[in-house]
Amino acid sequence: MSTVDLAVQLGSLRLKNPIATASGTFGYGLEFSEFVDLSSLGAISVKGLSLRPCHGNPPPRICETDAGMLNAIGLQNVGVEAFLAEKLPELDRLGATVIANVWGDTEDDYCAVVERIGAERRIAAIELNVSCPNVVKGGMVFGNDPAALGVLVRKVRAVARRPLIVKLSPNVGDIVATARAAVDNGADILSLINTLVGLAIDLERREPKIGFTTGGLSGPAIRPVAVRMVWEVRKALPKIPIFGIGGIERTEDVIEFLIAGANAVQVGTANFRNPSLSAELVKGVAEWCAAHGESRVSNIVGTLKTRPRLEHTYA
């Protein structure tokens, strides 16, 4: 097998390969070190960090759905301080490329976490979660409204000293509008998508299966939506680096995102199903490229050939 160049460049962020892991599905990374060589991955995005530790939502927090799951964890996390002190040194020792996923209830909260991270060189990039559907305040408020998102991103950009990723919500009518708002106000990279708001019902009790009532849908069920959104944003913003996220299970799913226009991907819920999957996908992508005569994985990005859409005709 000829060697394939797996490296990808997302603005100033260089990754050794296009396989990263998605926030909230990979813990703080360390939990996976038994199953995956963390240094073999493009990057890992850690569980969403807030300024202060957060307990999250009361259970039940999850339920399985067809080809996926709903979750309303409520952003339980150890807080940025504990992360930097207790998790980051070990991640660094294991050679992981770390993306700090962060969130807050207010603009000031977001800025405070980002300022706390400062110029920490062991954090490769900061990912703003403006799209969590599972908290009463914050998150979604920004993700749904291009104007509010723009203001937030501009404020965070002013204090951020690492590359800034903005993670978009799919729970919008026009993904390009929020993508543009993020990019126009200083996002270096976009990641999409976060979970889609869903509802599952326990028929006997006639109650929602999730304590928070609604939850975020993830897994293979959402992949076509995610691929479509990546494609739309890629068309509208040809230069912006994109992480594609949503329902990735197999090598072919990664390639599909790359063709649609993602420069790299993040593997999410599938990590629960098979904790070794991310490392397997790195190999899988190399094999796929070799088998298809691609010497550089980045050559695949945005190679979708679309047919012209013809107007319907009547009989």
């Binding site: 569980k47 307990h55 080809a67 799951m69 979750n71 629960f272 199903r273 904790p275």
Partner: protein
């Protein structure tokens, strides 16, 4: 250390009312397993069921000379239904052993403990009974179910613990005492038996009643909790239970074996 490996089905043994034992090759998981540990099993390679399912490692034994792990399961939905239909040789992805086991390291010969099981909650207590008998610890089993078909593996328990140490209860009186297992256990306490510790696994109503009895009697205990799980190793934060100190604890990583005093029963 948890291992992610594929183990083949050695044998499926069916009992009444949708219960069965699934014997898998022990792999590297079996030799590491301690009582109270569990494993996450993938039922088939399709998208339904999508997530792995959690099962207690019920026993570490052999089948026809091959080292085996035994799971005891009850069919309740799509995953358990599929696992029950797997034939000999079917490969099953297994992640384990997982979770905090029952605390037994501090027990000494001469100690007497109680095992309280409700329904399919017997599963983690089989390996526990085996380890306790190896250590020479005297243990009494209190095991209840709705009816006789719910009270499984009695012969194993009776062999490991001695039949005079095994007491049963059923809701319909078809086996043992007519009534709740907690009443059976209270009867033993009333008769003056003192227990160094109580190990329990069963449904939440049983846990609630037992937790109250144990608190009143100031008896040390470890309960093997259940919860819906997506990952089984502490990363999804989906399996939590409210704790007495006002947080949420992951059942898969901080548990499943926890003292009942750690749980905030009013919020569970």
């Amino acid at each position: 250390m948890a291992v992610n490996e594929t183990l083949r089905v050695l044998r499926t043994l069916r009992y009444d009312a949708g219960h069965f034992s699934l014997f898998l090759q022990a792999g590297t998981i079996g030799p590491q397993a301690q009582p109270g540990n569990f494993a996450m099993l993938q039922a088939g390679d399709g998208l339904r069921p999508y997530l792995r399912r959690a099962f207690s490692i019920a026993d570490v034994t052999t089948w026809r000379g091959v080292p085996a792990i035994e799971f005891v399961m009850k069919v309740v939905g799509v995953g358990t239904e599929m696992l029950g239909r797997f034939s000999e040789g079917t490969p099953v992805p297994v992640l384990g052993p997982l979770g905090i086991p029952f605390p037994i390291g501090d027990l000494e010969p001469g100690d007497r403990v109680a095992l309280v099981a409700g329904g399919i909650g017997l599963a983690p207590l089989v390996l526990l009974a085996r380890r306790l008998s190896e250590k020479g610890i005297e243990a009494d089993l209190f095991y209840g179910g709705r009816n006789e078909s719910d009270v499984l593996k009695r012969a194993d328990f009776e062999r490991l613990l001695g039949s005079h140490h095994c007491r049963y209860a059923s809701d319909d009186g078809s086996i043992g005492r007519h009534g709740k297992v907690t009443e059976l256990f209270e009867g033993a306490l009333a008769a003056g038996i003192g227990f160094r510790r109580v190990y329990a696994c069963g449904p939440v109503p049983m846990f609630r009643a037992l937790a109250r009895i144990l608190e009143e009697g100031k008896i040390d205990a470890s309960f093997a909790f259940e919860s819906e799980m997506a990952c089984g190793f502490g990363v999804c934060l989906g399996c939590v239970a409210p704790t007495a100190d006002g947080r949420f604890a992951t059942i898969c990583r901080e548990g499943p074996c926890l003292p009942p005093s750690a749980i905030d029963w009013s919020r569970l």
